[in-house]
Symmetry: C2
Subunit: 386 residues, 2 copies
DNA sequence: AAACTTTGTTTAACCAATATACAAAGTCAG
DNA sequence: CTGACTTTGTATATTGGTTAAACAAAGTTT
């Protein structure tokens, strides 16, 4: 958008700074906010008064004195409104009702019996309506809905392609916005997961993060400078189709040797796996009981995960890598080979700073992240770069 | 940096907007600037007066009337100062003296007889001093020096590692700043090339650009949102060591199957190439005369380039890819196989929008880009994101 | 020649941040 | 308990930027 400077912008910037400072550090006093942000005490007082008027900030009682008048502590009012975060999976629709601080108020879980869009949309509307009915009364009510989808999503919230659902070119955002008259954000499942980890999980306050969602395929959520990077048309992060064997196995995408053929649940189909395991959960059970074949398989997947992760490290130089998705449940078996291969193959300078973690939010990461997108959309976030 | 909003910031933002508008569209009238930026006519008048006082903008004569008073055309004063852009290569030091608009005023070219840092530094100082001596008189004089280096550079301008020079941990920026008392920017060679293409070459006004420098190795300059992305520690874009054959040839980096072993000038050494060619220039000469072996070799390199480019497209979803570096001279032979492989292997949705071009600036791209970094550092650039 | 257009400047008003002074509410030493 | 000091938060006047509106200057069109 075309932005120019005027006093309204100044006010927006400072109000945003103050609100997010209170959100991150509450409870906190006006004086502390002034000190941390560099804004004048009077400015903070004025804007906090407005924020209180908007019910986004509340005054709690006095805090501990540090040798003078007791400070009046401010809280971010997470209960000023609520958001709905949804994860759409192949066989399941999971959703949470969150407050503005990311706290889970309600959680629902519907089975999906089919994939056709009309049916799924109906279920989606139902789960949303059910959660809206459960929402506690609040000044702003439901302020947004966020959805994480297993497929490519463009910048306008159109689902371009979701192979596992058989969807193509579905303007999910407009449909839901028209149904519920609330801002809706649609994100790729990995992108939503990345936002979840960034704000509530393993990656708080990381500036450059790579979230790798490994499950039935592999997708990545890329956080650059604290913000989601979506690419030119919205489908950055399709890393599962990165070639790691130039003349490797043919892939359904038309290419060969794609990463996800070697390091995702797709290996359960086409490898000569002798065990009766078609899901990660089953394979984890076998591995836990010491089954040789399962252990070998996880070891191989971990190594291949490491190869792809190394490629991404060399390209992005992130501070932190978080492995999420269904495969994160197999951390005890994947972690060692993955880290070993990364250590072997990565350039020496990367080794010093880089950390690799597995998801802390588990299977809830995507829907929490989707909900958080909606929260940020509501609160707004202005940033100035010099 | 901690930025808050106040009137000084507003003024900086608007002045920056106006200056860059004039820079991009000059000659242009105050009225036009006001219309394009959305700023009030009075605001534009005031700030333009200041910019004229700073000699960054000049008033040229009147322009064509469009049915009313003739506009007074404004020009960006590219001659207000000059910058020096340097490319450090293995056997050569090339440098340009540019005006603030990127126009080349002088060009020098020194042979390097050795790689040890003291010697190279001496030559560098000499080439800088020589260009300074040639600089035309101007209000600001030399306002900055930019250097493109074949290696990894951290965020503070320290050369972490330059394998082809045998350098490690050299604080080039501080050394040059102390010698010449002028702001110095040090960039990876690919990053500088990307900036060059972005501002003067094939990629003007592209928001998400991938510049691939293919020569003795492969490196990438990543432009995200119109700005160079350097990663957490400054060495994003080391894509040459992306694995494209999991169990491929061993690489000096310690890994295996690295992209640059198959798609850079490194192939001239270790392939069973029967021809007496050790440089791209020689191989191009052979290809031009229809030599079978050379044609086959380029075809193979083009295909492997395509594999790596596909991987990067899937990760970054850029608008445009520019192939630069020494291999860009072989465009007639590399172009077809590269584009063919990308078309075969890339996901269907990428195909629609993506463009792949070869460098327009040729061998000058890096030094021009390095110089441009210095220009932008001098002019400043504030941006507000909502 | 009169009416209209376009460009650029002048004027007064507005408004957000700020420095400064100040009021309120505490601590601490003796 | 008292007086000096600290810390928190508010009130006031000032500063300095953008802006709308009026205006002046310079062309064009009919």
């Amino acid at each position: 958008m075309k932005v120019t400077g005027d006093q309204a912008l100044v006010k927006k910037i400072n109000k945003s700074i103050i609100l997010h400072t209170i959100r991150m550090f509450s409870p906190v006093s006006r004086a502390k906010v002034s000190e941390m942000t560099g804004l004048n005490k009077a400015t903070v007082s004025n804007l906090v008064a407005e924020l209180c008027g908007q019910e986004l900030v509340t005054e709690a009682g006095p805090g501990e004195s540090s040798g003078g008048r007791k400070p009046l502590m401010l809280h971010f009012n997470a209960m000023a409104g609520s958001v709905i975060g949804i994860e759409l999976r192949v066989k399941q629709l999971t959703a949470v009702l969150c407050d503005l601080g990311g706290g889970i108020l309600q959680e629902l879980d519907y089975r999906l019996e089919a994939h056709d869009f009309p049916y799924v949309l109906e279920q989606m509307k139902r789960i949303i309506a059910d959660l809206i009915a459960m929402a506690p009364p609040s000044p702003y009510g439901i302020v947004g809905i966020g959805v994480g989808v297993p497929g490519m999503v463009d910048e306008h919230g159109v689902v371009l392609f979701a192979p596992n659902l058989g969807w193509e070119m579905i303007d999910l955002r407009s449909i839901l916005e028209n149904s519920f008259s609330v801002p809706v954000t649609i994100d790729n499942e990995a992108n939503a997961g990345a936002q979840g980890e960034l704000n509530f999980g393993a990656a708080r306050d990381v500036r450059h993060l790579l979230y790798i969602s490994a499950g039935s395929g592999i997708g990545s959520g890329i956080i650059i400078g604290g913000e989601l990077y979506k690419g030119a048309r919205g489908y950055a992060g399709e890393t599962g189709h990165m070639t790691i064997e130039a003349e490797g196995k043919p892939c359904s995408c038309g290419s060969r040797g794609c990463w996800e053929l070697y390091a995702s649940e797709k290996t359960y189909d086409n490898s000569g796996l002798t065990l009766p395991a078609r899901t990660t959960r089953e394979l984890v059970r076998h591995a836990r009981s010491g089954q040789e074949d399962a252990l070998r398989h996880f070891s191989s997947m971990g190594e291949y995960l490491g190869i792809g992760v190394t490629n991404l490290i060399n390209s992005f130089n992130p501070e932190l890598i978080v492995i999420g998705g269904a495969l994160s449940e197999a951390e005890p078996w994947l972690g060692e080979p993955l880290r070993r291969v990364v250590a072997e193959r990565t350039l020496p300078y990367h080794k010093q700073q880089l950390e690799i973690t597995f998801s802390k939010l588990g299977s809830r990461g995507t829907m929490i992240g989707a909900g958080f997108s909606a929260v940020m959309h509501f609160l707004g976030n202005i940033r100035v770069t010099l």
